[in-house]
Amino acid sequence: MTTSHETFTDKAAQAVVRATPEPLAARVRGLSDRAIAWLFIAPTITLLLAINIFPLFWAIYLSFTNYRANRPNAVVQNVGLGNYSRVLNDPDIWASMQTTAHFVFWTIVLQTVIGFALAYLIDRKFRGHAFWTTLILIPMMLSPAVVGNFWRFLYEPQIGLFAYAVSFLSGIPTSEIRMLGDVRLAPWAIIIVDTWMWTPYVMLICLAGLRSIPDYIYEAAEVDRASNWRQFWSITIPMALPFIMLAVLFRGIENFKMFDMVNLLTGGGPGSTTEVASIALKREAFEAWATGRSSAFAIVLFVAVFGLANIYVKILNRVKQR
């Protein structure tokens, strides 16, 4: 009994030895396993350094100079904190920051409320809920360029479906509904498109949150005579809150740098009513060619977003730990 057992383990051990490859180093002459590991991650690291890390530090350097990208031969001078003081004292830049904050706030409010409501409805698991989920997700899958151009047509006062529908429902003549040309309407035109496109994304995250709440918690509450209202506020919302906050974080960061949709729909106009920070930054950098100053502006934006996101993640973690 014992001897046959040993024979078996011996055979198994031999089989394992045969099956295990010899260390790579033994085959690739002169290279340790560690060196090979580095070799494997080197392409990624190189790309990361070239595309992300180097430009960041280069921009930090440029933000202290008077460099202009359209005059590569001019002498570059160090201007100290001059660019920063100009950026922070420029009323136009502050106005663009305000416009951005306005966009971020309203898109988040609308997308979170509508997205959560949709998720809550879909989670009822009615007949055909899978079909409706797929249908709702379609806008999110489209390219922003397509969406932008598409909505420009819809917003067209003369031939656009949007103006026609609003006019049909409200009685206001279509010529009054110049979504992209009217100073009061243009910001909302962009908020509507962004909400149309990204609400499904928020819904998806909220749905994941709602699905993570086990049924028996609701059943326990039902037996404990908690009303639907109380179940919603003391079970659904607190347990889905980390997911909702995550969706807000993703959309917030994304919309802080919103560029494509604004550029396609209004280009920052009419006037500068929809000139968000990223559009203002583009003007500074590639229309005014004030490369040094625009770098300073970019760094200010970066620090603001990074700082806010960090504070937010701290709060999110505290909520999750409860």
Partner: protein, 336 residues
């Protein structure tokens, strides 16, 4: 507290009759345990009484009132789930107070507070009232879940394997506590388990469920000594009852029609004998007692024996029956 009556209750899931025309009546202040294997319909029975499922046929009444069409909230029942169904973002205190804060109850703050603290002491969690539910151990969570049921004084407590996810030591402690609390409060309690020890130690009456039907109901002693059929006999007894052909062992006159003899430890007499009819196959040492694995003919038996019984594996013994249980062709018990 109140009595509960089920008449012809049936629940069908797909093509499976989870509960099949079940009749059951629970007296006021009684502790009834439903015992059965997984899929016997125990949990479904509880959920039907609580109103979490609707019966396809039959009626359920609590305190003489028909429950048809009433939601769980309208039934005045308390439920302890198998999982730790606590509200995770609330403290232990808030979890215990949750059922009392229902607007339907209109209970003032001081009464809520007194009740919560009293129950917390009862389930021995009063030192952790301010902890969040997620920061508790499994045993503590389940004690809170039981406490959350106990803060109320419902018509009936329904408990679905509340101790099954706990370790053996804690399970033993909570078993005692639960029985003590139930006696103290004089509450009506329907308890579901697949653990025969829980059933034997806590129940006033045990109901044995098999395939959605009530196979037998009676006091633990009745069910154990006087099982109605093979299935019921097989649910109780440790080690498992030995089921043998009628002519295998001597020692008792076998009634006509006997198909199977059921022999537990107390039905077997062992004597050391070189010319015996059986052979000791294996001995499992439990400490104070041993599990004896015995071979007779082509059959294997397991029985308990004193630790100092001087036998060893391979030794021959003589095995005789002493008032065993007899079962007929259809599995029903025959009078011995």
């Amino acid at each position: 507290m109140a009595d509960v009556t089920l008449k012809g209750v049936t629940k069908i899931f797909g093509d499976k009759r989870a509960v099949d025309s079940l009749d059951l009546s629970i007296a006021d202040g009684e502790f009834v345990v439903l015992l059965g294997p997984t899929g016997a319909g125990k949990t479904t029975t509880l959920r039907l009484i609580a109103g979490l499922e609707k019966p396809d046929a039959g009626s359920i009444s609590i305190a003489g009132r028909d429950m048809a069409g009433l939601s769980p909230a309208g039934r005045d029942v308390a439920f302890v789930f198998q999982q730790y169904s606590l509200y995770p973002h609330l403290t232990v205190y808030e979890n215990l107070a949750f059922p009392l804060r229902s607007p339907a109850r209109r209970m003032d703050g001081a009464t809520v507070d007194a009740r919560v603290r009293q129950v917390a002491r009862m389930v021995r969690i009063d030192h952790k009232l301010e902890n969040r539910a997620t920061r508790l151990s499994g045993g503590e969570m389940q004690r809170v879940a039981i406490g959350r049921a106990l803060v109320r004084r419902p018509a009936i407590y329904l408990m679905d394997e509340p101790l099954s996810s706990l370790d053996a030591k804690l399970r033993g402690e909570l078993r005692l506590e639960l029985k003590r609390i139930q006696k103290e409060l004089g509450s009506t309690l329907l308890y579901v388990t697949h653990d025969q020890i829980e059933a034997m130690t806590m129940a006033d009456r045990i109901g044995i469920l098999a395939e959605g039907r009530l196979a037998q109901i009676g006091t633990p002693k009745e069910i154990y000594t006087n099982p109605a059929n093979l299935h019921v006999a097989a649910r109780l007894g440790q080690p498992h009852i030995n089921l043998l052909p009628p002519e295998l062992l001597p020692g008792a006159p076998v009634p006509a029609g006997t198909r199977t003899i059921g022999a537990r430890t107390e039905h077997l007499e062992i004597a050391r004998s070189g010319a015996g009819n059986a052979e000791v196959d294996w001995i499992e040492h439990l400490g104070d007692q041993n599990h004896l694995h015995i071979r007779v003919g082509g059959h294997k038996l397991i029985t308990l024996a004193d630790a100092d019984l001087p036998v060893s594996p391979g030794e021959r013994i003589s095995l005789t029956l002493k008032n065993p249980l007899y079962f007929g062709q259809d599995g029903r018990r025959l009078a011995g």
